[in-house]
Each structure stands twice: as structure tokens, then as C-alpha cells.
């Protein structure tokens, strides 16, 4: 675009243009500089503590032998629960909204606004919901399953929105073609629309998973704070990596800060590899119709 415009005018007078462009670049650089500073800071502080012993030992009041094994295991369990719970419900909702719902009905429009709003409700509010209904209401207690359920609700709107976009990008001609040879609506959805939308859905689900595993506030509220020195079970008390980081950050001793940095490295490695998989999936399978 800029080629035509700049050739027409005298050269060398574009300092305002340069200034503007530099200001825009500064905006981007601020974000990336922070990211780099953060990564360098965390790795310099914590890298020496990321040892086999750290990964396989329970936490302890003695920082030299403390590890993050229960937290790492719980985070993996939470990840499995998130996938199992959110993908069917999220994709189901997305199919309903995109393929079945009549947009003119007020309740379907309300449903859409509702999901958009839920996506922006602070995660701590979901924690209150979990505290009131799941932990104390139905008496499940402060257990890993309660954590999985509450994180499911936190990331569900994100999964729905991503799945809807993936389904919407499948062109109508594919649906019409299937209808034309006599397919029922569910056959069209299951055999044509869903297979075509899977890369987009998978990308969105993985990004949502990575967001959910980094959530701290809702888990704090449902009570994942006490020291857990044993491996977590579904119906037992638990801690998770973000919670473990929070506990160590709060302690004043420098040694525990370093452990927090080590736990952050473990968490970031898990989340950033999930992100990388999602971005790779998108670049590899993204189709322009």
C-alpha cells in the first residue's frame, strides 16, 4: 500500500511517518520486552532448582528438600478432567448455536449474550460459585474433582466461542451438498461439518486448556491451599502448580521464592508447549475455503 503513496511525494520529509511507526513499534516492544524480562528473571532465579528431586518430592518446610510432585500430578489430573468435561459440552453448545438454533428467537439471542458475558466474568467469581455450590452446597468438599468442575465452568465459554468460529467457517455448500443426497441434519453435522471443523476446535480447546491450568484464583477459593504431601486423588484434598507457586511466593524467605520460580518454569513449560501445539495445529491444518 505504502509504495504508491510514498513514490508520489518528495522523499525525506516522512519523519512524522517514521515517528508514528516507531511509536507503534514501541507499543509492541513493551509487551515483548516484558515477556523476555519475565522469562529471564524466572529462569535465572529458578533453573538451578529444577531437578529430578524437585519434580518427584513432596513439598516441605525445609526448602532444600521441598518439591512439587503432588502439585504437578494434580495439574495433570486437572488437565485431563478439563478436556473430558469441556470438549463435549463446549462443542455440543457450539453445534446447537450454529446448526440448530433459530437466531430470531429471543432465547437463542440471550444465550449468545450470556456466553459472551460469561467469558468475561472474573475467574474469582467462578471460585465463589464453586465455594457456595460445589464445595459447601452439594458437600463435595475441597477436593480435586471440585477443582476440575470449577475450572470447566471457567474455560467453557472460551471453548464454545472457539468451536463456534470453527463450525461457522465451514462453508454452506458442504452442508447443502450433503442435504442434497438425502442426509439428515445430524448426519450432515457429524459426517461433514464436524470433521471439517476439528482442527479449529482442537486449537481452541488446547488454548482454553492452557488458560485453565494457569488459573489460580478459583482454586484458592475452593480451598486448595493447605500443604499436601501425598499424591492427589480425585476425591481427596489437593494442591496444583499455580497454588503451589502462590504459597511459595507468599513466604518471605528467599529460598522459597527460588522454589516458586522453579515451579513457574515447570508450569510455563507445560503451558507453552500446549500453546505451541495449538499454534502448530492451526498453521498446519488451517484451510481457507
Amino acid at each position: 500500500m505504502s509504495v504508491q503513496a510514498t513514490h508520489l511525494r518528495r522523499r525525506g520529509r516522512d519523519y512524522r511517518e517514521m515517528l508514528f511507526k516507531s511509536a507503534l513499534l514501541v507499543s509492541l516492544i513493551i509487551g515483548f520486552a516484558t515477556l523476555i524480562a519475565l522469562l529471564v528473571d524466572v529462569f535465572v532465579t529458578g533453573w538451578s532448582h529444577v531437578t529430578w528431586q524437585f519434580l518427584t518430592s513432596p513439598p516441605s518446610t525445609d526448602p532444600t528438600i521441598a518439591g512439587a510432585r503432588p502439585a504437578i500430578l494434580a495439574t495433570i489430573f486437572l488437565g485431563i478432567m478439563l478436556i473430558v468435561f469441556t470438549v463435549p459440552i463446549g462443542v455440543g453448545t457450539a453445534i446447537y448455536l450454529e446448526e440448530y438454533a433459530n437466531r430470531k428467537r429471543w432465547y437463542n439471542r440471550m444465550l449468545e449474550v450470556n456466553i459472551q458475558n460469561l467469558a468475561a466474568v472474573p475467574s474469582i467469581v467462578y471460585g465463589i460459585l464453586g465455594l457456595a455450590f460445589i464445595v459447601r452446597g452439594i458437600g463435595l468438599g475441597r477436593v480435586l474433582l471440585a477443582g476440575g468442575l470449577i475450572l470447566t465452568l471457567v474455560v467453557l465459554p472460551t471453548v464454545i466461542i472457539a468451536a463456534r468460529e470453527a463450525i461457522r467457517s465451514v462453508p454452506d455448500s458442504i452442508r447443502q451438498g450433503a442435504y442434497a443426497i438425502g442426509a439428515t441434519q445430524w448426519q450432515v453435522v457429524r459426517r461433514q461439518v464436524l470433521p471439517a471443523a476439528i482442527p479449529g476446535i482442537a486449537t481452541g480447546a488446547i488454548l482454553a486448556l492452557s488458560r485453565g491450568l494457569g488459573e489460580t484464583a478459583p482454586l484458592i477459593l475452593i480451598g486448595a491451599v493447605s500443604y499436601i504431601a501425598f499424591d492427589p486423588t480425585i476425591l481427596g484434598p489437593f494442591t496444583a502448580l499455580p497454588i503451589q507457586i502462590y504459597q511459595w511466593v507468599r513466604l518471605p524467605q528467599e529460598e522459597f521464592r527460588e522454589l516458586a520460580a522453579a515451579a513457574i518454569i515447570v508450569l510455563l513449560v507445560i503451558l507453552l508447549s500446549l500453546n505451541a501445539v495449538a499454534i502448530w495445529l492451526r498453521n498446519r491444518y488451517q484451510r481457507r475455503w
Binding site: A5, L24, I30, Y100, N114, I128, G182, G214, V249
Partner: protein, 308 residues
């Protein structure tokens, strides 16, 4: 539900036969959708029933206008203003970073970056957005606050400034990506018209694209503010946990979300007045973010209508 619209294709040709399988599928999908309705109803009930009980004991007027928050003192004081001011103070610093730089990043990505650069920059922004907030909290407390002290800004160990600025960087990608979506949706013709008149790129961006995308950009700003208001972990870790009615960014403050997290983490007996404060403050926070979210959704709908 919308049966008619769906079956038109097949029904015209063959005899109508009730397909129970199809109906079952549709009901199941509808039930999935109902879960998010149930979530909203659950949130409203979970927050407002205990909050209502709370306001039986503490007059709403005292809650909204009281200048002191000391639920554990004798006599207990339940003025929410220090928490609200703490929240606003942190939010202010966050949006001072997120709004100008988010918009700048969006303009660069939409108007200046080559497709190849976008392919590198956008995933990087996503990574920035994907860093958990507890990690940003750690960064604010152990890196950014000492940095501020080193360059001569006399901040306390816990302070609103450091938490707010780091929160701003955390929100920046959200604002940038939404604003960029809005600017990308502006039709090419508008840009070409301005370029044909000899406008440089800068003028096209600021006088044509930004005004044309303004409702989407405002939606991005408002959503960014909403994220800052509700953000918890950075505030708990870096801004502190002492209610403090001040806009002085160098001091420690307690935000509403930080209070909820701190109180909810302790073993507060169910049903006590202290337990109910979680819900009263939670309801206040929920109402504030709900208003912001609805404004944002309205603006998004408007720009969708204009260009899609």
C-alpha cells in the same frame, strides 16, 4: 425449538417420518447449551442470596459509603470504599499501559506489518496473553517493584503502581487482538480511497481506519478495563492485602478480588457474617464487571453490523 428451518432440505422430497434419533440429538445439544445458562443462574444465586442476608445485618448505605473496611475488628466496619478505590487505583495504572500500547500494537499489526511479520507477532502476543496471572504477580513482586525502587520511585514492597503496570502488560494482548479484529474488518476501499488522495499511511490509520473501527476499539478498551477490575492474583501478590483508602500508587492497597481471595482461602465458618462478606464484595465486583461487559458486547455487535 427451530425444527422447521432445519429439516426443510430432506422433508420436501420424502414422506415425513419422525426420526427419534434426530430429536434425541437435538435435545442433548440443547442441554449442553443450557449448562451455560445454569452457570449464570448459579452465579447470580450464589452471590446474591448470601449478599442479601449480609445486607440484612449491614445497611446497604453503610456498605457503599463507609470509608473503613475492617470486618475482623470490634466493632466491625463494612465500608467497601477502600476496596473499590484500591481496585480502581490498580485498574487505572493497568489501562494507562494497556489502552495506548494495545491500540498502538493493533494499528501496527493491522496497517503496517507484512503477512510474514503478523505470522510471527500474533503467536508471540498469544504467548504473552497465555502466561498465568500468578506468574505476572511473581514478576511484579520480585522484579518490577525492586526495579521501580532502583530507579528512585519510593514504592512500598506491596504497591498499586507495580501491580497495575504489570497488569497493563498482561491485558495489552487482549486489547490489541480485539482492536486489530475491528480494524481488519474495515473494508479495503476506504483505505484505498484515502491513499489515492495522497494520504500517508499514518493519516490513513488515524483518520480513516481508527474512526471506522471505533466501536470495536471501544469494545476492546472496555473489555480490557473489565479484565483489570476482576484480576485477582497480580493484585493479591503485588498490591498487598491491607484496605487503604488512597489513590497514592506507592502504597499497598487491597482490591475487591484480593479481599475475596484472602478471605475465601481462610477457614471462615459457613454462615458467619464474615463468610457473607465474600459474597457481598463478590456481588459488587460482579455487577461492576457485568456493566462493563454488556457495554463491550453492545459495541462489538455494532461494528459487526456495520461491516459484515
Amino acid at each position: 425449538m427451530a425444527t422447521r428451518a432445519a429439516t426443510v432440505g430432506a422433508a420436501g422430497i420424502r414422506r415425513r417420518r419422525i426420526r427419534y434419533g434426530e430429536i434425541v440429538v437435538k435435545v442433548l445439544l440443547g442441554l449442553c447449551a443450557l449448562i451455560s445458562v445454569a452457570t449464570t443462574v448459579g452465579i447470580v444465586v450464589a452471590l446474591f442470596v448470601p449478599a442479601y442476608e449480609f445486607f440484612q445485618d449491614v445497611p446497604l448505605k453503610d456498605f457503599l459509603t463507609g470509608k473503613e473496611w475492617a470486618p475482623l475488628f470490634e466493632p466491625a466496619l463494612f465500608g467497601v470504599l477502600p476496596l473499590v478505590v484500591g481496585t480502581l487505583s490498580v485498574t487505572l495504572w493497568a489501562i494507562l499501559v494497556a489502552i495506548p500500547f494495545g491500540l498502538g500494537a493493533a494499528i501496527y499489526l493491522s496497517e503496517y506489518a507484512s503477512p510474514r511479520m503478523r505470522k510471527v507477532l500474533k503467536p508471540l502476543l498469544e504467548i504473552l496473553a497465555g502466561v498465568p496471572t500468578i506468574v505476572y504477580g511473581y514478576f511484579a513482586l520480585t522484579f518490577f517493584t525492586p526495579l521501580l525502587q532502583d530507579i528512585g520511585i519510593k514504592v512500598d514492597i506491596f504497591n498499586a503502581l507495580s501491580a497495575g503496570l504489570v497488569m497493563g502488560v498482561m491485558i495489552l494482548p487482549t486489547v490489541a487482538s480485539l482492536a486489530e479484529d475491528a480494524m481488519t474488518a474495515v473494508p479495503r476501499d476506504l483505505r484505498d480511497g484515502a491513499l489515492a488522495l495522497g494520504s500517508p499511511n499514518r493519516v490513513v490509520a488515524t483518520r480513516i481506519v481508527v474512526p471506522a473501527a471505533i466501536s470495536g476499539i471501544i469494545a476492546a478498551f472496555v473489555l480490557g478495563i473489565s479484565r483489570a477490575v476482576g484480576e485477582t492474583m497480580i493484585a493479591v501478590v503485588a498490591a498487598g492485602q491491607q484496605p487503604n483508602l488512597t489513590f497514592d500508587p506507592r502504597q499497598a492497597v487491597e482490591t475487591m478480588s484480593a479481599f475475596i481471595a484472602a478471605t475465601g482461602a481462610g477457614d471462615v465458618p459457613t454462615g458467619s457474617l464474615e463468610y457473607k462478606t465474600i459474597f457481598a464484595v463478590g456481588a459488587t465486583l460482579f455487577v461492576m464487571t457485568l456493566i462493563l461487559n454488556i457495554i463491550s458486547i453492545r459495541f462489538v455487535d455494532r461494528f459487526r453490523e456495520e461491516y459484515e
